[in-house]
Amino acid sequence: TFLQPPRGCDMQWCFSQVKGAIDDDVAEADIISTVEFNHTGELLATGDKGGRVVIFQQEIENKNYPQLRSEYNVYSTFQSHEPEFDYLKSLEIEEKINKIRWLPQKNAAQFLLSTNDKTIKLWKISERDRRADGYNLKEEDGRYKDPNSITSLRVPVLIPMDLMVEASPRRVFANAHTYHINSVSVNSDHETYLSADDLRINLWNLEITDRSFNIVDIKPANMEELTEVITASEFHPNQCNTFVFSSSKGTIRLCDMRASALCDKHSKLFEEPENPSNRSFFSEIISSISDVKFSHNGQYMMTRDYLSVKIWDLKMENRPVETYQVHEYLRSKLCSLYENDCIFDKFECCWNGNDSVVMTGSYNNFFRMFDREHRRDVTLEASRENSKPLQVLKPRKVCTGGKRKKDEISVDSLDFNKKILHTAWHPLDNIIAVATTNNLYIFQDKLTG
């Protein structure tokens, strides 16, 4: 159900909140590396390069001020991963959180999977608002009583306390990946999940940590023959036997786990032939897919490559049904972007709750929304300058040539250090979370009436 009727890009977006340090000097550990809403949208998790997870919770709606849709406040912070050293290979393993995925809620506690390059962890986040009081053997402060002083027996009672949110690692899924993990995805059966690295995909049971099944292996017998790697993978939202994985060659393979134990042979291969007139030194780089996401209804999937977003109908393999240019003006700048490594940036993408709008990030702290229904798109900016409460975001425009109009920004003025790689859309409402380098912006649509 929707709290607001979704209106796509004719809606106006307002600033709601920004989280993170204000100063321009960004500590590397604070760089946000993943953003994810849970299934109700009540919780918003971020992971950073320092291996920390911060979870925000949406407060109960303030009935007195309905225009101030509930704010997100810090709910829990914990260190998920620490840097490690692989002594056998003389390799340092980064603690950066690559992905966070929430499990559907089954009881009072919340569960999420967080992963770095090598190890996936299942975290339980639980609330404690009561504590036991009246122990027989212990004092208030925890010291043990002198047994001789105990003369009576009583039953401890639970008394209210200040809410405490505890995060504890319940499972650690380690040593299953030789290469760097890029994706985790929870299955709709709520019992299994997959983890993907550059060359392999493993299937896990959430309860079992010492075993995983390898379901995809694209490592060639001779590494010299390597031509592509796996870049992202996701389970179908309601078919528990189906998953997809994207490759650095711009292809997406859909696999059915019922077909065979090892899903190297795809059931479907989605690929669009390259436009030969666009061929350049960097064709292979810009066709590499950085993210793949199923639509909520399971009929479509969206892929992101360096310059565009493509929507694929799962029933049609030979071309996408929709293609949206994110920042086509960068096509003539690929050489510089290669030199400064920006061409390797991995942008993510996301759907809104009813699959009518898709969103992705760009440079200069711009992000883009594409309204599929109304065939409209808009460019917005996440910046401290536009951070007054409920300030409406003004659409931005990049000038690609000729006379620059007022309020337009020219391509050469774009700041390529300010990139929005991670965005998330509330599953049920028009609230979006947009991560700049070290800040998290929350925007909401302007409520009318």
């Binding site: 950066k96 760097h180 001779n222 030194f281 700048k333």
Partner: protein
């Protein structure tokens, strides 16, 4: 649509060196070598090398065309008998400007040739607009040599690999037949030597130059008329074009693999 200005020159050679630096730097990056990024960089490297080689040979081919026309015109005027002796090509006192068909040597490298020639290597230039013999294939195993002193033109059958040639034609037998292996060897032995990696192309050229100047690998044949000057340079080589492309791309892909193999040591 205004394409905007390119902030950097899309020059194949600079892309090659940029790519090599990226691969080199990735080995010291925190978190281990990123397979995906290095694979993408090696694609750029391959693309740049293909363009670089094609440009190089197009240039040489055009210069050779010009030289041969000039030579023939001169010979017609002078009517000197063309009677080169095999030893002439190897004599060390020939005073001729040398145009290396390879990129100039880095100083201090290899053995400088004592003799100098106008040496141009016939190489395929598919689709070159200046090429009056468009469609003719060429191969790196024939070299037309002009001795400016005697105005003698000879076609030298070289059984050695061109320095920048990424192909190993079967008849280039005396040399280790796989430049890929050579590159691998270079890369591997240079793995611990940081400077060598970025100087890779220069060291490769030094190796090749030594092989090129070995006189044992040359033998000469006489040219007596205009037709044979042009004919001998190109005949019988059309069929080799497809093989050449196949070999070149195979070697290019294999050289791509050499990088990833060296990179992915885990």
């Amino acid at each position: 649509m205004d394409r905007g200005t390119m902030e950097c020159a899309v020059d194949a050679q600079s892309l090659i060196s940029i790519s090599l630096m990226k691969i080199h730097n990735s080995r010291t990056q925190r978190g281990g070598i990123k397979l995906h990024k290095n694979l993408l960089v090696s694609y750029v490297l391959r693309n740049a090398r293909q363009v670089y080689i094609k440009e190089k040979y197009a240039e040489i081919y055009r210069m050779q065309q010009y030289e041969e026309v000039m030579t023939v015109c001169n010979e017609i005027q002078e009517l000197n008998p063309l009677d080169p002796e095999p030893e002439d090509a190897e004599e060390e006192d020939l005073e001729v400007a040398a145009l290396s068909c390879c990129a100039p040597l880095q100083d201090g490298g290899g053995k400088e040739p004592e003799t100098s020639f106008y040496r141009s290597c016939c190489m395929e230039t598919p689709g070159s607009p200046c090429d009056p013999f468009a469609g003719n294939g060429s191969h790196c195993n024939k070299t037309t040599v002009l001795d400016l002193d005697t105005h003698v033109v000879t076609t030298v059958e070289n059984r050695y690999l061109h320095q920048d040639c990424c192909c190993s034609a079967p008849q280039c037998a005396p040399v280790p037949d796989s430049p890929v292996r050579k590159r691998k060897g270079d890369f591997g032995c240079c793995a611990s030597d940081l400077e060598e990696v970025s100087d890779f192309s220069a060291s490769r050229k030094r190796v090749r130059r030594e092989e090129c100047t070995d006189p044992n690998y040359t033998d000469t044949s006489n040219i007596s008329n205009l037709i044979s000057i042009f004919g001998s340079g190109f005949s019988g080589l059309l069929s080799r074009q497809a093989d050449l492309e196949q070999i070149c791309s195979k070697q290019a892909l294999a050289s791509l693999g050499a990088w990833t193999r060296a990179i992915v040591a885990f």
